[in-house]
């Protein structure tokens, strides 16, 4: 809670006539030096697959049969000075063995006053690729990460250290063009020079330093939006991610994506309800795998080849009445046949209905069923209950 605001407000409120205050406006704003908030997320449930980690691939998904704590997120944000805002997200999580992990998920500055409708972001942050990748689990409509996001960006999403320049195009409707430039190595650049990319190509990762600018990861995006009526809004975008991968010295990856979000909200919305939204993303990846030695057997060498993967999800979310939401998501991910039979590239479909009840906007209970079908492994069924609480003034959501 903002003690400082309360204090200021109390001082202002002590019996001073409004007319006097009008002549001597007292400072009273929503922005303190720093906002602090915390999101606590826990899951419990069961799956027919005993190795839950092989089924629930996201880092913030349920991890085991029984109870999981996949996300305790401390968020700090505020205005730095007349030129910058600052944001930090520190995530605490328990792995399948109950061990605590801590990561600096995001830490970035954002300019507030560049000319020409430009805006610069810098630090460690989620790449603005598609709709869900930059969102934190608190804003997701489902208890787990879509399959296609894992396929392309791995368990933690696509984020790295870099700079992003955005241009709000001076059109009469919303159009924003962004380009991000990032380091292409590290654990959160799954399809690029990640040290975990052996999961994709099966070879020992090519370890090297950055040779030239082409070794950086580039993520361009254009998004545009229209109000179809006073109650309906459409937001569409196309994104790309281009950079080197770790299967060989000259191996590269290209990912293309398109996303769509449509929302209807009642003109008489109470607490934002009722509403209906539709969200879909499709992605395709061309992964040039170099000639590489198997990471598991040094006597095996895989020849160079092109690995192709696609995937998409579509979800409908219906805010039935205040604080009650029903959702349905359908999704698939496929991968081409390759020399290394990667489990993470296997064909798979999943259907997930869910129901969410928010006692208030600061807490959440979500019940979700997943029907999974993995090629070669057959169907699996899972039921997850997700519980979330929120402390402090959590940052408001973007559309």
């Amino acid at each position: 809670m903002r003690v400082q605001h309360l204090f200021t407000a109390c001082i202002i409120a002590v019996g001073v006539p409004g007319a006097v205050l009008a002549q001597q406006p007292a400072p009273r704003t929503s922005g303190a030096y720093m906002n602090t908030s915390f999101v606590g997320l826990m899951d419990f449930g069961w799956s027919t697959e005993p190795d839950v980690g092989s089924l629930q691939l996201g880092d913030h998904d349920p991890r085991v049969r029984g109870f999981s704590i996949p996300n305790g997120e401390l968020a700090l944000d505020g205005t730095v000075d007349p030129y910058f805002k600052g944001f930090t997200n520190i995530v605490y999580k328990l792995d399948a063995q109950g061990e605590t992990g801590v990561e600096l998920e995001e830490m970035y500055f954002l300019t507030t006053s560049l000319p020409g409708n430009l805006q610069l972001k810098g630090g460690q942050f989620f790449a603005e690729f598609g709709r869900q990748n930059p969102q934190h689990p608190h804003a997701w409509a489902f208890a787990d990460e879509p399959l296609v996001l894992h396929r392309m960006f791995g368990p933690e999403g696509l984020r790295s250290q870099g700079l992003r320049l955005s241009w709000l195009v001076p059109t009469s409707w919303y159009t924003e063009a962004t380009v991000g430039v990032f380091n292409s190595a590290g654990g959160t650049t799954f399809s690029f020079r990640s040290d975990e990319s052996a999961e994709i190509h099966g070879g020992a990762p090519d370890e090297r330093d950055v040779r030239d600018p082409a070794d950086l990861l580039v993520v361009p995006r254009v998004a545009t939006s229209f109000d179809l009526s006073s109650t309906q809004t459409l937001l569409v975008g196309v994104s790309g991610a281009f950079g080197p991968n770790s299967s060989g010295p000259d191996a590269r990856t290209q990912i293309y994506g398109t996303d769509l979000y449509w929302k209807w909200k009642s003109p008489r919305a109470h607490q934002g309800f009722p509403f209906v939204s539709f969200q879909a993303e499709g992605m395709t990846r061309r992964y040039t795998a170099g000639r590489r030695v198997s990471s598991e057997n040094p006597n095996v060498t895989f020849s160079d080849e092109v690995l192709r993967d696609q995937g998409a999800y579509a979800q409908v979310v219906w805010g039935i009445k205040p604080l009650v939401v029903a959702g349905l998501r359908g999704e698939f991910a496929t991968g081409s046949v390759a020399a290394f039979a990667s489990p993470t590239r296997a064909n798979r479909v999943r259907v997930s209905p869910n129901l969410t009840w928010y006692p208030t906007e600061f807490s959440k209970f979500r019940l979700q069923y997943n029907y999974d079908f993995r090629d070669g492994l057959g169907p699996d069924h899972s039921v997850w209950m997700q519980i979330e609480f929120l402390l402090g003034a959590h940052a408001a959501h973007k559309f």
Binding site: L6, C10, L110, L168, R268, A396, H397
Partner: protein, 308 residues
């Protein structure tokens, strides 16, 4: 440099200067977060401003979508008028962040956070969220009080004059006209409601305390047990008991609130459910602040007379 060149430069500079002294008339682009603020901006700005409201008059102003079209609107604005006191906390910050318009930064002449001049009611001395969605800075639904409106109209005129000094006199004159009309109107509203001093009313959300204070009404219950918490059967039973015991026979409901709940309570208490709005335009023929207040006072007086 030759004399001729100097002359040409001087002439060019003079022409440029002349152009700057008489710019083409462009209306101030004013954005208000809610229609009530937009109505005041129109009254003060008149023909010199183009006013747009972000929230619809019929929707809950705490929960407006941060639509991308609002980003474009804010990107082009000369002036932003917001209620402040955390009314728009859930949606305005991300819009401003994306709009990247320095003219609207906190403290800039183009930013009018109107709650800064208002004596807010119900500022909690201690609170946490077990009390519901209580606002740390006080109750933000203050625009329904004509005295507050007068303060805000003054703030708007002051800021308009800072942003567009050439027309400062016009804004001042518009303010004077508005205040004169407001004084006359308020005297009439007070007279209409004077016979009902102390009448007990019930509201859905805790959003009419300023109206009650100004016109000496007594809000004895809200249908929400706590701000932002949905009415429960147990709480409604308590409300019904209080209404019967204290002879409260009027329930005020805004367009976005659940009228059915109010009707259920009204049936058991022989009460009237009144459709009242805080936003001009939410109810037909209430496009200006005066239209809206005329409607509210008339509706209340009629209901109080009927249920007296």
């Amino acid at each position: 440099m030759t004399t001729l060149t100097l002359r040409i430069l001087a002439t060019t500079a003079a022409l440029a200067g002349l152009g700057a002294a008489t710019p083409p008339a462009r209306k101030l682009d004013v954005v208000a977060t809610t229609p009530d603020l937009a109505a005041l901006a129109t009254a003060i700005g008149g023909d010199l401003v183009e006013v747009k409201a972000l929230a619809k008059p019929t929707e809950d102003p705490h929960f407006v979508d941060a639509k991308p079209s609002h980003i474009v609107t804010l990107n082009r604005a000369d002036v932003l008028i917001d209620g402040g006191a955390e009314l728009e906390l859930g949606w305005l910050p991300p819009l401003l962040e994306s709009a990247r318009n320095g003219k609207l930064a906190a403290g800039a002449p183009g930013r009018i956070s109107v709650s800064q001049g208002i004596r807010l009611l119900e500022v909690p001395t201690t609170f946490d969220r077990s009390q519901g969605d209580v606002h740390a800075l006080g109750n933000p639904h203050f625009l329904i009080d004509p005295v507050n409106v007068k303060v805000i109209a003054g703030q708007i005129a002051d800021h308009f004059a800072l942003v567009d000094p050439a027309n400062a006199a016009v804004f001042k004159a518009n303010l004077k006209t508005f205040n004169g009309a407001l004084d006359a109107k308020e005297a009439g509203w007070q007279k209409q409601l004077e016979p009902y001093r102390g009448v007990k009313i019930v509201t859905y959300h805790n959003d009419f305390v300023y109206l009650a204070e100004r016109f000496n009404l007594d809000v004895v219950e809200t249908l929400e047990p706590k701000p932002g918490i949905a009415p429960s059967p147990a709480h409604l039973a308590k409300v019904i008991g209080t209404m019967k015991a204290q002879n409260a026979r009027v329930i005020l409901v805004q367009p976005f609130q659940n009228r059915k709940t109010a009707e259920t309570v009204a049936r058991q208490t022989d009460a009237l459910v009144l459709d009242i709005a805080q936003q001009p335009g939410a109810i037909p023929n209430t496009g200006t602040y005066f239209d809206l207040m005329d409607y509210i006072v008339r509706t209340l007086a009629t209901a109080f007379a009927e249920k007296k």
